[in-house]
Subunit: 143 residues, 2 copies
């Protein structure tokens, strides 16, 4: 899992003629061993204790690179922070976002994906990716 991602990223780097650096390795490790849906700042803070010399800009640029390489994906939950999540291997998942406690539940549903494809083709639209988020209250917060 992690290895596959690392390999993908290494290939991406090589293909683009970019360089493999200590920082990128560290950031990738931290990213892969994190919760999903990390904001740049969260990742930066997480790193800072062990690697105080890594700058915010490097984290920022590296996450962009992860997204370009396909091992991460930008998400926006509307709280004014860009987050990055791990991409699954091909599959896509969607989110239930609790407006009270902020917890995030992931789910996948083939039926929805299928309907999406139908909708898109009825408009002649080619889907590259999608985003489905359900906002409300989680079971705990309803109590």
């Amino acid at each position: 899992m992690k290895k596959a991602k690392k390999k993908l990223f290494r290939e991406f780097i090589a293909e683009k003629g970019l360089k493999s650096t200590r920082q990128r390795d560290i950031i990738l490790d931290a990213f892969l061993s994190s919760d999903r849906h990390l904001s740049i700042e969260e990742l930066y803070l997480k790193l800072r204790s062990k690697h105080p010399s890594i700058g915010y800009a490097t984290v920022y640029r590296t996450l962009k690179l992860f997204a370009e390489s396909g091992i991460a994906r930008e998400i926006h939950f509307g709280d004014g922070q860009t987050r990055y999540e791990h991409t699954g291997e091909g599959e896509h998942h969607d989110h239930l976002v609790c407006k009270r406690c902020g917890s995030i539940i992931e789910f996948e549903n083939e039926a929805i994906e299928k309907i999406q494809d139908e909708i898109a083709s009825s408009y002649g639209f080619l889907i590259q990716h999608h985003k489905l988020e359900l906002y409300g209250l989680c079971a705990k917060c309803r109590a």
Copy 2:
């Protein structure tokens, strides 16, 4: 349609003990007679020619108020700008967003909404609203 929204907003204002002002009327008119999916800045610029004295902060605060009142909804397409769209009367619509030309197609699909409800209830989750966006290339841009 527009009248209904205006009425709703007037009621909201009254109920909350807020005040009805010239600026709010102007901004509401401009908002209602605009394309959907307007960013704060776009609305501000649109207003500026006719009403140069209206400040950005007023537009900003008024749009927040529209969202609170239920006649508008915040949306984030991930381009770093908060946008506001008209809320339909009860119904919700989703978006096809073209990554090349930026055009936005709206659609509604009951089947998807139904599945969403099923998913939510399987997690004990209470949906307040949702967001579904399909990103890719529109028919024109595929050519």
